[in-house]
């Protein structure tokens, strides 16, 4: 039965926009105040689903960063480093509770600014961000059990740059552990998605967080580069592309300042013949189409055992035809807008290379809105390991399907990538899952599921997917220096 004859087409069910009030322009958040940028520059932020300008964002320059780093240093030395862990924990709990109270507002704002479906911001992004604050609030007074000696110490001022794919969630991954461990923060949100970070800044004020503990300096790539180069920053954390990660590393190489990098990936989802097929299909769909495929750990390569390839692809295509693409504010939307024109161009370029190189593309026949940035869910079959679409991160809703004949071949192909962030194994056979997860070189391995996150579970990559872990006990370590010596309680602020 074709799509058109289905009488049960769901009427639009849009979430209300009334929940948020967006100002016409935003200042920087430095030293507990919203201040106009010294650079005097501002740039528009748009809703990628409609191309409507939502607001103007301040472009932080070097002077602004100087002020922010100074404020963070002052807050660290005068207040934050002197607070006992249990007091820091109270602030984190308060922030978490305030986020809970305003969860729907955050979800709507994130969807408007990012283009991802409201179902995902409401059910995934915001609840997980809140969980990160609750989880790390609990750690604040228990750091002697983190595995960094009996008296672990913070670094001081931490510089953090976050990406546009999970704006508030990535902020939480960065800010919560930094504050729990006693560091102060200068954070730069992604150029296209600053709004939830700015709402978070307001929430820091509401929580009574001491001035300068969190500073949010919005801007573009130049702002980020200046922050990385800033000599007043003691530790650096970045989530984003491998390309930028490498550049950051080059900048920091000579300074011996510690850095955590959460970079790209080309995750393999391996489906063995004995898998629970229907659930494996769900997992593949979640793995690559969740968040429009703008996920560093996306399962962008499907490795399917050759003897079930045809049946599996047939079922997968039917499932993909059920994906509802469109208005991200509609509660029934599964796949929203591509975050930016630039990202859309990159996805188009890579998918074209796939067709040129001989892979076979398939897309459902779904309608797309006329304005905004959109890309249909796409599967490539006849992909070989040498194709660009099998090697490069597309960061969009595009799945490359490769086949294997034996378990050994599956592992070999899965590991044959410069990346090593995540992998999935689908099998009803426990021993095979245990064996495969031992052989796979990836920081996160999911068995019979994909894209499941938890604040207590460390996340991070092998090889060019990054350094260090975020979340769990492991995620605390990059924010601490190992020490078994109690801190000297002198009149002056103490560093290290």
């Amino acid at each position: 039965m074709s799509e058109n004859s289905n009488p049960f087409t769901y009427a639009p069910a849009p979430e209300s926009r009334e929940l948020v009030s967006i100002e016409s322009s935003y200042d920087l958040f430095i030293d507990g105040k919203f201040v106009a940028p010294k650079s005097k520059k501002r740039f528009p932020t748009i809703n990628p689903a409609t191309e409507e300008v939502l607001s103007k964002i301040s472009l932080g320059g070097k002077e602004d960063l100087d002020l922010a780093v100074k404020a963070a240093r002052r807050a660290y030395e005068r207040v934050w480093s002197k607070l006992p862990g249990k007091e820091r924990g109270k602030y984190l709990y308060r922030i978490a509770r305030l986020m809970q109270e305003r969860a729907r507002e955050f979800a709507v704002l994130e969807t408007l600014d990012n283009g991802k479906p409201i179902r995902e911001t409401r059910d995934t992004d915001i609840p997980l961000a809140i969980q990160h604050f609750f989880y790390h609030a609990g750690w604040a007074d228990k750091l002697e059990y983190a595995g960094a000696g009996s008296h672990p110490k913070p670094h001081g001022v931490v510089g953090q740059i976050i990406p546009w794919n999970f704006p508030l969630l990535m902020l939480a991954w960065k800010v919560a552990p930094a504050l729990a461990t006693g560091n102060t923060v200068v954070l730069k949100p992604a150029e296209t998605t600053s709004l939830t970070a700015l709402l978070f800044a307001q929430l820091c004020l509401d929580a009574g967080l001491p001035a300068g503990v969190v500073n949010i300096v919005t801007g573009d790539g130049s702002t980020g580069a200046s922050l990385v180069a800033h000599k007043g920053v003691d530790k650096f954390a970045f989530t984003g592309s491998t390309e930028v990660g490498k550049a950051i590393n080059r900048t920091l190489a000579a300074s011996a300042r510690p850095v955590t990098l959460e970079l790209g990936g080309k995750g393999a989802n391996i489906v063995f013949e004995d898998a629970a097929i229907d659930q494996a299909i769900e997992g593949i769909v979640q793995g690559i189409f969740f968040n429009q495929g703008h996920v560093c750990c996306a399962g962008s390569r499907l490795l399917i055992q050759e003897n079930i390839h045809d049946l599996f692809i047939e079922k997968l295509e039917r499932r993909i035809e059920e994906i509802r693409v469109g208005d991200p504010m509609d509660k029934n939307t599964d796949l929203g807008a591509i975050n930016s024109k630039e990202q859309l161009a990159k996805i188009i370029e890579l998918t074209q290379s796939g067709e040129v190189e001989g892979a076979k593309a398939w897309q459902p026949d779904c309608a797309l809105p006329s304005r905004g940035f959109w890309f249909r869910p796409t599967i490539f079959t006849n992909v070989t390991g040498a194709h660009r679409i099998a090697r490069e991160e597309i960061f969009g809703p595009v799945l490359s399907v490769l086949t294997f004949r034996t378990p050994q071949e599956a592992i070999e192909k899965a590991n044959n990538t410069p990346y090593g962030l995540a992998a999935g194994v689908w099998s009803e056979k426990g021993s095979r899952i245990l064996w495969a997860s031992r052989e796979l070189k990836a920081g996160v391995i999911w068995a019979n599921t994909y894209n499941k996150f938890d604040a207590a579970s460390p996340f991070g990559g092998y090889k060019e997917s990054g350094w260090g872990r975020e979340g769990g006990r492991h995620g605390l370590l990059p924010y601490l220096t190992h020490s078994s010596t109690p801190r000297v309680k002198s009149g002056k602020g103490v560093r290290r």
């Binding site: 039965m1 049960f8 639009p12 629970a276 229907d278 659930q279 029934n332 599921t449």
Partner: protein, 324 residues
């Protein structure tokens, strides 16, 4: 070798099933169901937000799919007649409300229901009889066949039989299979056969999938979740697994089997969630009372209340719908 019932169809042979061993092997080699994944998918589909015209459409579709049921020891002729009136005209003030899918009663009430439905002009509403020593199925085959024959002779055109869960759980698939074949033969062309799996007693989703296939290959026209006497009954993940089974069976054989969740579906919201499952798992061609029924009693009034709300814009008192 223990050959299958002589009346089993060519279908079994098409699946390579000829005896107890090949039947057991076939069921065992069906792909497994991952519990976590199946429940997650059902939960995800439960977040669909059905509004306005699609909600109106869904409410009327759900009404037309209700197997309006009374299965109590305390059932009386009066109760059954009043249920039949309700089935025919769920809302006597509004002729646009469709009639329900069927009236479902115990065996001895079939004649009363049929006669009454005919007398009020509801000749197009079938009477479904729960049969084969419902709900436990613990009786001899002779009794089960007689039970079925009685119901059909009294005017039942749909037979809701129970499978022998004890035999299924102890691996005696052939005996379960043969019973269904025999009851199907008894139904002949006079009655549709709905096979109740009683998923609450089969417990695992793997078992639900196996029992679904077993029933379909043996000749079921519908597979039904539950008797309504065991909890849990028609949970969303169980219905999801059964909908996947009928879809895959259709792909392979071209035969479209219906699904009937029964038990625990009491609100319009629950019913609409079921329709979303049908729509997104099996597909739109199952969105018809010919292929999807909901076994329920209290549900119908809630659907009517929601219908009033859609029409009038406010919730009416429950005193505006009749209690049977």
């Amino acid at each position: 070798m223990n050959q299958l019932h002589a009346s089993s169809s060519n279908l079994a042979r098409d699946f390579g099933i000829t005896d107890d061993r090949s039947l057991a092997l076939f069921l065992k080699t069906l792909p497994g169901v991952d519990q976590v994944g199946a429940e997650a998918r059902a939960a995800e589909l439960a977040t669909r937000s059905i509004k306005k015209e699609s909600k109106s459409w869904a409410i009327d579709m759900a009404i037309s799919m209700v197997d309006l049921t009374t299965l109590e020891g305390a059932d009386t002729e009066g109760k059954v007649r009043s249920l039949c009136n309700k089935a025919h005209r769920p809302d006597p003030t509004d002729p646009d409300v469709p009639h329900v899918g069927a009236v479902c009663v115990y065996n001895d009430m079939v004649g009363i229901a049929r006669t009454h439905l005919d007398s009020i002009g509801a000749t197009d509403i079938p009477v479904a009889a729960v049969s084969t020593a419902f709900p436990s199925g613990r009786a001899s085959m002779e009794v089960k066949l007689r039970d079925t024959r009685d119901a059909i002779e009294a005017g039942a055109s749909e037979i809701d039989m129970v499978i022998d869960r004890g035999a299924f759980l102890s691996g005696h698939y052939k005996s379960v299979f043969d019973e269904i074949v025999a009851i199907k033969q008894e139904c002949g062309t006079k009655a549709h056969l709905k096979v109740i799996l009683e998923t609450g007693e089969l417990v695992t989703y793997d078992n639900v999938r196996r029992a679904s296939y077993l029933a379909m290959i043996a000749g079921a026209d519908f597979i039904k979740t539950s008797t309504g006497k065991v909890t849990p009954a028609a949970t969303a993940p169980v219905v999801l697994v059964m909908l996947q089974a009928v879809r895959d069976f259709f792909d392979r054989t071209g035969i479209q089997i219906g699904v009937k969740p029964a038990g625990g579906i009491r609100t319009s919201k629950d019913a609409i969630k079921q329709l979303v499952l049908v729509n997104e798992i099996a597909g739109a061609q199952w969105l018809s009372p010919a292929y999807f029924r909901i076994g329920a009693s209290a549900l119908l009034n809630d659907l009517l209340m929601q219908r009033f709300k859609m029409r009038d814009g406010y919730y009416a008192s429950s005193n505006y719908v009749s209690v049977e």
